[in-house]
């Protein structure tokens, strides 16, 4: 039998990610006999094992049918037929299996001895039908109107205890081991205005949350600054580039010496955050999405922000949004005009929730541009030469190389959009407000800013509609893979600028 104090658990953390519509369905289902009686369902989970955490993602609900659960008792009593059906089903899919049940109103999500027996039995039982996959057990409670969760997962012959739940929309409090967490003492003087607007709880949520930012240039550095000042608990900052002179016009926290020293942008960000608030944990990764070490770091974040003008990054962001249920916002700015006449200063913010269409469905990806971005330097040079040769022969050079226009931008635009996207991340993390758009575009120099929003649909054949929450189990259907020629990811969080050069 399991011990409530989990004496044998690993100290690696378990993180749960949930999103709608599956979570909405789950909530209605397990609270079906609320407030006095429990109810349960089996579910399927995707997962990813990182060096620090097992991340499990709610992929689908295998709801009970009549007779699967005993209606005559107030606790959960699962009939053998339901268990056997789920076990045989597990032989046909590749996801993890789990049980999710409710505790009655006001009941803490502490596993009972019956729950312990069930988990001990199921963890061994499903290991026979779904070997090598995690068995997940979750308990949901409603305490004083707040949704509370506890859970554990059995994987590799060991139990991991749920430490954090990243929910796309619904606020969920995670009670480790089913026990109420100790109240934190928060230093709220600096965030007094935010607390007066959003409440003390919002500050607590910020302190216990993390945001990953892809790109620490103009927009990324502005977003990082806003999040740091708001009091976010952890930032994951990813960028492969170093500061040069042309960045000084817009990168927050960068100085001429950084251009002289060619300091990695992620180190500039880490240093700037430390100057604002030393208690914020910053993971500074010199790398790119979707490199494996980068994915390991960002899938543990609550929200992901895309702040690059790179198409591969945009595509990877939307891939993570649906496979790992990682709510993301991609942003970009472009200055339009020629010969000194500015005709447009356009910003775009695109929401990628788990059930939103991906970047391919939204037709945001230019296949030629992304191919060029992903080429090695050698292949790029070879292609340019082939295009030149084709021109000399009188042939079409485009199949070999097609010059892509340089995207121009300036600091006041990147700062404005970076701050906006950070604001929406704060709204998502605190659950205080939502993004009122799917794909927002605005022109800063047009009357009424020419604001447009575009609702788009998933294509029926696209992976984004088929593998929501499948995590690594849909890696064959990922929208993009990291090229082998990219440099290995360096984690500079504990390193220094010299090592990165």
């Amino acid at each position: 039998m399991l011990n409530h104090e989990y004496p044998n658990v690993m100290r690696r953390s378990l993180l749960l990610r949930v999103a709608d519509p599956e979570f909405g369905t789950l909530e209605k289902l397990v609270f079906r006999r609320y407030p006095d009686q429990e109810w349960a369902t089996f579910a399927q989970f995707g997962w990813r094992e990182t060096p620090e955490a097992l991340v499990v993602t709610l992929a689908s609900i295998d709801a009970p049918i009549e007779g699967d659960l005993n209606e005559l008792v107030s606790h959960v009593a699962i009939d053998e037929q339901y268990t056997l059906r789920m076990a045989l089903n597990a032989e046909k899919h590749r996801l993890g299996v789990g049980v999710i049940h409710s505790h009655p109103k006001g009941g803490i999500p502490l596993p009972s001895s019956i729950d312990d027996d069930m988990d001990t039995y199921y963890s061994r039982y499903f290991a026979d039908f779904a070997p090598g996959r995690p068995y997940v057990s979750l308990i949901l409670s409603n305490i004083d109107g707040r949704l509370v969760i506890s859970g554990r997962a059995f994987v590799g012959n060991q139990w991991l205890v749920l430490e954090h739940t990243a929910s796309e929309r619904r606020p969920i409090d995670t009670w480790r081991g089913g026990r109420c967490p100790t109240a934190q003492i928060l230093e709220s003087d600096r965030a007094a205005r935010l607390v007066s607007a959003f409440g003390e709880e919002a500050l607590s949520r910020l302190r216990n949350s993390s945001v990953a930012i892809i790109g620490a240039g103009g927009t990324g550095s502005a977003a990082i600054e806003v999040l740091a000042r708001a009091g976010i608990g952890r930032l994951v900052v990813v960028d492969p580039d170093h500061i040069d002179r042309s960045n000084l016009e817009r990168v927050h926290g960068a100085y001429p010496k950084d251009a002289d020293d060619s300091t990695p942008k992620v180190l500039v960000a880490a240093r700037h955050v430390e100057a604002i608030d030393q208690s914020i944990r910053v993971e500074a990764l010199l790398g790119r999405l979707p490199q494996s070490d980068v994915v390991d770091a960002v899938v543990t974040a609550d929200v992901l922000l895309g702040c690059t003008d790179q198409q591969h990054s945009r595509l990877a962001l939307s891939d993570l949004a649906f496979r790992y249920l990682l709510p993301s916002i991609d942003c970009g700015v472009v200055l339009e005009g020629k010969e000194g006449a500015i005709t447009g200063q356009v910003a775009q913010l695109v929401r990628f929730r788990a059930s939103d269409p991906c970047a391919l469905c939204r037709e945001m990806i230019n296949s030629e541009r992304i191919k060029q971005e992903l080429m090695s330097d050698e292949e790029r040079a070879e292609r340019k030469q082939a295009a030149k040769d084709a021109l000399e022969r009188g042939d079409d050079p485009n199949p070999y190389w097609h010059d892509q226009p340089q995207i121009n931008t300036v600091g006041y635009l990147t700062t404005s959009v970076g701050a906006m996207v950070a604001g929406y991340a704060i709204g998502w993390v605190t659950k205080r407000f939502d993004t009122p758009f799917e794909r927002l575009q605005m022109n800063f120099v047009a009357k009424y800013l020419d604001v447009t929003d575009m609702a788009q649909n998933q294509r029926s054949e696209c992976a984004c509609g088929k593998f929501r929450g499948w995590a690594d189990q849909a890696s064959a259907d990922s929208l993009i893979s990291a090229p082998d020629h990219w440099s290995r990811v360096q984690n500079l969080s504990r390193g220094d600028a010299q090592r990165a050069k």
């Binding site: 296949s367 030629e368 992304i370 080429m375 090695s376 042939d395 079409d396 199949p399 090229p483």
Partner: protein, 133 residues
């Protein structure tokens, strides 16, 4: 490289009787074995092995190019065959990549990673090897 995806695509071909394998020692390529050609009636090989490079970031980037064994008599008779690209070493042999771009203005549909892959590229190779001039 999305090895799982490529293997899944090659399994489709193998299930249909066409031998194809992913070779990763060196530049990753897919090696299609004994691909039929229309060469016999011109006194050229009736089958040939073909290599196709795996593009960086696949499947985000489109499959492009094709290569035949260096010195193959088919090369000068195929579309783009005289417009040589780089030589790659695969499976102990030298292969000449040539200018063949079905998904980039070369007669095929624009690249769509939800529909296309190394299994559908095989159809383009067959068409290419049957247009001998």
């Amino acid at each position: 490289m999305n090895r799982e995806r490529i293997e899944r695509e090659l399994t489709i071909l193998r299930d249909g009787g066409q031998l194809a394998e992913l070779v990763v020692n060196g530049e990753p390529v897919v090696l299609y074995r004994n691909v039929p050609t229309d060469g016999e009636r011109y006194g050229l090989p009736a089958v040939t092995d073909v290599v196709v490079p795996v593009p960086s970031g696949y499947a985000a980037a489109a499959i492009d190019l094709a290569g035949l064994p260096a010195g193959s008599p088919l090369l000068p008779r195929l579309k783009g065959g005289t417009n040589v690209q780089r030589v790659v070493s695969v499976d102990g042999r030298q292969w000449q990549l040539v200018s063949y771009h079905p998904h980039n203005g070369g007669g095929g549909p624009p690249w769509d990673q939800m529909k296309h892959g190394f299994h559908t590229y095989f159809d383009h190779l067959i068409a290419w090897l049957h247009r001998i001039c």
